[in-house]
């Protein structure tokens, strides 16, 4: 058994509080990373398991597969083939899973006394999923996923915007070109054999990372993890996904008609990926632009001019690369051209002169506060266990809390300005979403697209 144990203790960042999230990590013989963090404030344990597979591991024609597969993980495994939720809910647990472009995660938060129930269940579906898989389950969950897609995209105002933006930003063979939810035709085309092949390729200990966080003794928790997961055979190495960013030249204007009352415009640029250089600066820039009434775009468009009902900026960073978006919804009677004109003024100003020191400091302390608030939960999406796994999978070091915070604390107004001017260039996507029959409200010279 190979063991690389390490212990870290948080340091003060120089600004604000120090993040002390001590952990132990070991790598089992089969390649599974096991990370344990003790936190005895509440008699619960978070079990959090990440697989390094997401929709960027799919190929055109079979999109949506990683997420559909995630659903099948809840449908029973060889030794417990009657549904995944029942024993865990009976144990007082809460559980869920999610898929994005880069990873798939599964978690339970259970009373301390039910930790073994959760480990038994998680390990059974990693080691013994396929014997319990049937065509009927597959078809049922495909129907469920198609309904998830209807609910969250097709039947939601502006719901198809994310699909249009990714399609415009990335070429068709780029693994970030499609949404994780996938295309209905692809979901219909997939088969049970493909499920088996996908499981063999990606669902094995060497492509996974397990965190146990909460009211446990670290040594005992590691013993239990070895016990339940140690015998599961290793699998084939997973090659990194090649996803070179293809820079956009010029402005790509797209337009979608939708069942909406008010038109909305999205501007999107390629930016650095998660934890890459300038990622934090772009996050801070988003705050400076649209967080709160006195932020630049909100103040101009919504507060002073009252030409927009809402405006938001976000740095959506993923493993390989990121997307920075600015989104504004027109007030009744206003056109998207008016919004664009007003936004250009502010974007040009922040790119040329940068934010003030005060603006950056406000954004920094807000990040720090949100970060600390998030550490109050050991489990669930975004809790400490999820964060330990994110750092481990994308940075190779679960103990990145302090350095993550320092990315923001150490940023400067000059750095934010430099990042803004580097990435908010003329190579961008401008997407208009307008009420049906009101193309005149969109940005002129846009290419009308039809998505479903």
């Amino acid at each position: 058994m190979i063991r690389s144990k390490e212990q870290t203790v948080g340091e003060a960042t120089g600004k604000g509080v120090g993040m002390d999230v001590p952990f132990t990590r070991e790598v089992l013989d089969n390649g599974l990373h096991v990370i344990v963090h003790e936190d005895h404030r509440c008699p619960i344990v978070a079990v959090n398991l990440w697989y390094h597979v997401g929709s960027k591991n799919e190929r055109p024609g079979r999109t949506g597969f990683a997420h559909l597969f995630e659903h099948l993980m809840f449908e029973g495994s060889e030794h417990h083939d009657t549904g995944y939720f029942q024993p865990l809910q009976e144990a007082g647990g809460q559980l869920n899973g999610s898929t994005n472009a880069d990873r798939t995660n599964y978690w339970e938060v259970v009373p301390t006394s039910a930790l073994e129930t959760a480990l038994w269940m998680e390990s059974d579906r990693l080691g013994f999923l396929l014997p319990a898989l049937t065509q009927a389950k597959f078809e049922n969950q495909r129907d469920v996923v198609l309904n998830e897609r209807r609910q969250n995209y097709e039947n939601r105002p502006y719901g198809l915007a994310p699909m249009a933006i990714l399609a415009a930003l990335y070429p068709p063979d780029h693994p970030y070109h499609w949404l994780t939810i996938g295309v209905p035709e692809d979901l219909h085309a997939s088969s049970l054999d493909e499920v088996r092949a996908f499981f063999a390729a990606y669902y094995h200990p060497g492509n996974a990372s397990l965190v146990l966080a909460g009211d446990v003794d670290a040594a005992r928790a590691a013993d239990l993890a070895r016990c339940y997961f140690g015998d599961i055979p290793a699998g084939p190495a997973v090659a990194p996904v090649a996803a070179p960013t293809v820079p956009l030249t010029g402005e790509h204007r797209w337009l979608l008609e939708d069942r909406v009352e008010l038109p909305r415009v999205y501007i999107a640029w390629h930016t650095p990926g998660l934890f890459h250089a300038d990622d934090a600066e772009m996050d801070l820039l988003a705050d400076v632009l649209t967080s709160g009434k006195s932020s630049r775009l909100y103040r101009s468009l919504v507060y002073d001019q009252r030409i927009a009902t809402e405006v938001a900026a976000i740095q959506n960073s993923r493993e390989v690369s990121g997307v920075f978006q600015v989104i504004a919804t027109a007030a009744p009677g206003r056109t998207l051209t008016e919004l664009m004109t007003a936004m250009e003024v502010e974007l040009a100003r922040v790119t040329a002169d940068g934010p003030t020191q005060d603006e950056v400091q406000r954004a920094q302390v807000q990040f720090e506060a949100q970060f600390v608030f998030g550490l109050q939960n050991v489990g669930g999406f975004g809790g400490k266990s999820d964060q330990l796994n994110a750092y481990n999978m994308f940075l190779g070091d679960p103990g990145w809390f302090d350095r993550d915070l320092a990315r923001y604390g150490g940023a400067t107004a000059a750095g934010v300005r430099a990042a803004a001017s580097r990435y908010l260039t003329s190579g961008r996507v401008v997407l208009s979403i307008v009420p049906r029959g009101r193309i005149d409200l969109g940005v002129p010279d846009s290419t009308q697209v039809v998505l479903s």
Partner: protein
């Protein structure tokens, strides 16, 4: 060590749960201050509970309580709206204002080192908001525009139509954000008058939870709220809406959304208040029926039929009798069978298939064993204490939760199903493609749905 995969490990004994001590003190001005020590991270959460919500809206001014709540941080204590917002962001404070049917709840979360500054801002926001004409006009316009946008959001349409059809003219018959005509008729004077009347220290409860002693938490609040002067006269008692007889309206209603790929559904009726002695039995019943993933209705509609991404049922407990409702979104083509299956499950749990001992055991275990994780964060603890204040519950009710749930037997679940679920009297609201849905409802033998609009 190898794993025995022939059977699941049996969880150990139920975790022993003790809610942390709540210390309650009253300031001379009548303000009730409750504190809870919660160690671990340098965070303080303060909740201000003002027992005036949407049910307090004058009949011709739906939305007044919500607009007043939203106006609070548009300038306060001599600061303009912009300056106030900058001061909040300078300390990383998170301020959330939630307007429910029975109360307005402000939640402030701050890092401990900014607690003093955060409280100073919260005190001004609650006690002396500017409520000026210019910000009022601006905010009202945003509200009206938001209502316009919501006409295209199926869950919002369904919620509004359901509340109106089930509660009629009762104070619970409108959603907190109100209606466009009422917003347009509203004045800044009305907002100021509402604030004067409803925001009074004698009616308000302040709850402080965080990484400090009871005394320090109390001093933090008292230092900023002790000078809050009560209004003239006796404080108005919180409105407890009268118990209502069921509204006799259409049992089936549809809000047309041509071409919609899914139908948004609401099925339910007026049910129980939070004070009902059947509270714990109803929680168990709901967990069997539709309160969690493994509940009957979700297993049927999602896991067996594939009609939906998910479905759940809720008893929405309030100061007065709140609704029982089932909510889901189903593929358009299967709307009629989905309604049929849902209603069949609601009938079955009363009559043909009452909750079994195994189901009740599962429901009890999931509620009781999962209880401690509801108190992991300062905000969760503060909100739990706010619920005690809002519903006039004794502090001991938190510690009584587990034994009370464990005392619920299958017969109790069946009894409360009979008492609180009347499927024949439920209202079904569908937001969907009428051209497809109406004929299919007809084919299933349902009454002709009435087409309703939501302004």
């Amino acid at each position: 060590m190898s794993v025995d995969r022939s059977r699941l490990p049996v969880p150990g004994p139920e975790p022993h749960f003790r809610f942390p001590r709540i210390v309650t003190r009253t300031l001379p001005n009548g303000l009730c201050v409750r504190t809870v020590e919660h160690r671990g991270l340098p965070v303080v959460t303060v909740v201000a509970l003002v027992p005036a919500g949407a049910a307090t809206d004058p009949a011709d001014r739906p939305g007044l309580a919500a607009l007043t709540g939203d106006m609070l941080d548009e300038g306060a204590g001599g600061r303009s709206a912009l300056v106030l917002q900058e001061e909040l962001s300078r300390i990383g404070a998170s301020l959330d204002t939630e307007i429910g049917p029975d109360a307005t709840i402000l939640t402030l979360a701050v890092l401990s080192r900014f607690a003093e500054r955060g409280l100073a801002l919260l005190a001004d926001i609650v006690q002396c908001p500017a409520l000026d004409d210019h910000e009022f006009a601006r905010l009202r316009e945003l509200r009206v525009n938001r209502l316009t946008q919501l006409r295209d959001v199926p869950p919002s349409l369904a919620d509004r139509a359901f509340s109106r059809l089930v509660f009629g003219a009762h104070p619970y018959g409108h959603l907190p954000m109100g209606s466009e005509p009422a917003l347009l008729a509203m004045t800044a004077d009305e907002v100021r008058a509402f604030h004067r009347e409803a925001y009074d220290p004698r009616r308000t409860t302040l709850i402080a939870v965080g990484d400090a002693t009871h005394d320090a938490l109390f001093d933090l609040v008292a230092g900023r709220f002790a000078g809050w002067a009560p209004g003239p006269g006796e404080p108005a008692a919180p409105v407890v809406p009268d118990m209502v007889a069921p509204v006799v309206g259409p049992r089936f209603a549809i809000v047309a959304r041509p071409g919609a790929p899914q139908s948004e559904l609401r099925i339910g009726h007026v049910a129980a208040a939070r004070q009902t002695p059947d509270y714990h039995a109803l929680l168990v019943l709901n967990a069997v029926l539709g309160g969690q993933f493994v509940s009957r209705i979700n297993m049927n509609l999602r896991e067996h039929k594939g009609y939906t991404y998910g479905v759940r049922t809720t008893f929405d407990f309030r100061r007065g009798r709140g609704p029982f409702l089932l909510q889901t979104s189903v593929e358009t083509q299967v709307t009629a069978p989905a309604v049929r299956e849902a209603l069949a499950e609601l009938c079955a749990v009363r009559d043909s298939r009452p909750a079994t001992p195994d189901e009740v055991a599962l429901a009890r275990a999931s509620l009781t064993r999962g209880f401690p994780r509801s108190f992991e964060t300062t905000e969760q603890v503060a909100r739990a204490v706010a619920q005690l204040a809002l519903y006039d519950l004794p502090d001991a009710s938190l510690e009584q939760f587990v034994p009370s749930v464990n005392a619920v037997e299958p017969d109790d679940a069946t009894r409360v199903a009979h008492a609180h679920l009347q499927p024949a009297e439920m209202t079904t609201v569908i937001v969907g493609d009428a051209d497809v849905v109406v004929p299919s409802l007809r084919a299933e033998g349902f009454p002709e749905p009435q087409v309703v609009t939501v302004e």
